[in-house]
């Protein structure tokens, strides 16, 4: 059975099809949730809510473009929605370096570590960083999605970069001597 058929069955509210769809996309969407959430528990919550949203909105999927992209957008928007309503971080726009290079030993930097420091970022920084760096949205798009200005988005991104850089360097600083 093709994906389209599966989606059609989901539109008919077939639990069996919904489970299949879940099994198919949960790993990819869970990774997105992990990136955008504060911690693993939140990510699990968000995955659950996001999937429920996907199933309730699956009627609106027009079979144009990839389903994965559509589902991910729903999922990410759901998370954004959640964090957007909680806590406001108004940041003064500053001039920060656009690029941040960091000295890393690729082998010693683990996936879990990187995920961890992303999750530790303040909500807004985390969202902007994920949207811009990993998911490739433009500042303009991000500004619209988060109801902030372009400038705030750029400033948040730079702040996020700086924090991440510091954390990576600190980790390198700690781990390198022990490794040597």
């Amino acid at each position: 059975m093709g994906l389209d058929d599966l989606i059609k069955e989901c539109q008919q509210n077939s639990i069996r099809a919904q489970e299949q769809l879940y099994r198919l996309f949960a790993p990819k969407l869970f990774s997105a949730c992990l990136k955008y959430s504060r911690n693993r528990a939140d990510a699990e919550d968000n995955l659950q809510d996001g999937f429920l949203l996907i199933f309730s909105k699956i009627d609106q999927y027009q079979f144009k473009g990839s389903f994965e992209g559509w589902a991910k957008r729903v999922m990410v928007n759901n998370v954004l929605q959640k964090y957007r309503t909680k806590g406001v971080f108004e940041i003064v726009t500053e001039n920060l370096p656009e690029e941040a290079d960091v000295e890393v030993e690729t082998e010693t930097v683990s996936m879990d570590f990187l995920l961890g420091i992303i999750q530790q970022l303040p909500d807004r920084y985390r969202m902007v960083f994920n949207l811009y760096v990993i998911d490739g949205y433009s500042h303009k798009e991000i500004a619209e999605m988060l109801s902030i200005s372009d400038g705030t988005s750029k400033s948040n991104l730079n702040r996020a970069r700086m924090i991440l850089k510091e954390k990576i360097e600190a980790q390198q600083g700690n781990s390198i001597p022990t490794a040597k």
């Binding site: 509210n13 639990i15 919904q18 489970e19 879940y22 099994r23 949960a26 790993p27 990819k28 869970f30 990774s31 992990l34 990136k35 528990a41 990510a43 699990e44 919550d45 995955l47 659950q48 809510d49 999937f51 429920l52 949203l53 199933f55 309730s56 909105k57 609106q60 027009q62 144009k64 957008r73 729903v74 928007n77 759901n78 954004l80 929605q81 309503t85 909680k86 690029e99 941040a100 290079d101 960091v102 000295e103 890393v104 030993e105 690729t106 082998e107 930097v109 996936m111 990187l114 992303i118 960083f129 760096v133 990993i134 798009e141 619209e144 999605m145 970069r161 991440l164 850089k165 990576i168």
Partner: protein, 620 residues
Amino acid sequence: MSEKKNIDRLFQEKFKDFEASPPEFVWDNIREKLEDKKKRRVIPFWFKLSGVAAILIMGLLLGGFYFNAINTDNNNPVVLDNQKANQGNPLPGTPIGPPTQNNTKNGSFNNDLKVNSGLVTNEQDGANGNPNSSPDNGKSGNSTSGSANAESAFGKGSSASGTKNNAVVNNNSKANRPGNSNSNKRSVISQSDNAVVSTSNSKFGKNSRTGKAQKGQNIDAEMTINGTRTRNNNAVAVSQNKTSNTNGANSTSNNNNALASSKNNKSGKTNTAANGIIGQNLNSGLTINGTASAKNNNTVVSSQNETGTANIRSIEGSIVGNAVGTAASGVIDASVPLNEQAVAEVAIDTVAVPENELEKLLREKTEGKKEDKDKAIAKTDVKDKWSVKPQLAPVFYNSLSKGSPIDGQFAGNAKSYDNDLSVGLGVNYAVTSRLKVRSGINTVNLNYSTQDVQFYASLEGQTRNVAARSSNANIVVQDQKNNVVDPSLLFANNSSGDKYNGAMLQKTGYVEVPVEMSYALINNKFGIDLIGGVSTLFLNQNNVSVVSEQGLSTNVGQAQNLNNIHFSTNVGVGFKYRFFKAFEAHFEPMFKYQVNTFSRDAGNFKPYFIGLYSGVSFSF
């Protein structure tokens, strides 16, 4: 290996193929919610129906009130009727009772009660009796019996008077009527209460459902997580919530105690229904606690303890709680505050559900193309909001009860109701794709004939409730069984020769302006609508005539007790079939119960008509 790397590229590379499998319980939760949702899907359908039904019931009940009000008005003449009957009974007839005397007597009655038919029957009584007693006896008899009967009529409605009791029996039935109408009223009241309560209940039901279906899921999710994971803040409060959530009504937590107390405050049905709802709402309320920040947890839990239903909508619990508190105090009063509460809840619902925004965000930001499409669809929707529909309907007229608006004496006579044709033009406005407001204009003729009547020309007599046309003699119509004789005919020495047996035909014509709502249960190429509403009927034809068995017909006059404007409550089902783009064929059987048709003396006549409306609508 150490290298200098752009931080962006580092993350991009690392996260490129990042996948992580979620724990299994996530799917279990989702599945639970999905199944839960499926089960609940039936509710909104019924809710919407119940909304329509509630309107209809309210309409009918209001109609009932009107009708009963008219009936009680009729009670005044009852006394007179008694007197009439008894005048005949104790003294079997004042013989050639000098018309002048009779007239004076009658005159006095008339002053009190202004019912012309009193004249007719009185004279008839006198004329029928044996020529034995004196006019004096007649007088005294009349006066005493009159008073005695007045009592009896107010009292039990007795059977005191003798053999010729047709009229009295009639009276009894009439005299009973106030009682009946009272009890009717009562039952009406209680019904309406039920209706109100049930509607509000269904509102609850709906709210709780939407709350759950839309918002609840998000939040429930958090709750379960909380249970397993114990969040930083308020671990106690949250876990308490969780137990009540899972255990439902059986749990022994504070929340449910509060429920029990609320039970005591209320009574009967309302209670159980309300409790059922509370159970549900509790859940949703609690779930909201879950998402709400730490400080809310405490406050909400405490508010639950205070007033059983207060917790229904959690965060703004205090407002809702107050509303419910007053609602619990009195059954009848409950309708208003319940509504208020419903409104309040709706408001909170909308506040509490952020998904719409998300939806918007989704469409606007990420699917530009789709948005255009939606707009196009919306445009076409707007385009087809109006439709006109010429329609034609055979109309079947009838009465819910035996009765005659002309004269009570015809109540028992067989009646035949004419089937006529109603023609008109309907206008529909689509509020949503399913909900339409309808109006229009129709002509409708409602005719019926009363069988087995007798009529004759008289200089003095009149047919009750009919204003004679101006001519030399009035036509007096009476029941054949009555068989009484007009004294003026006796004078003419022409007892029954000029009486004709036949039928009395009452014709009424109206211009009908309906205001109705229709809700589409099925809305495809073929559709089914539920229709309900009211019509205003403007009288434009009013005629009473008689037809003899030989086929001779003559005009009697106009009914005096028809209101120029009256109403009907309409219920019906519509079937439609779209056979070409903007054209739909309709077939709509409608039941229209007429309300306030008669200004007085409705004679227990409760007319309704059934129209089988068919037509082709054109939408634009």
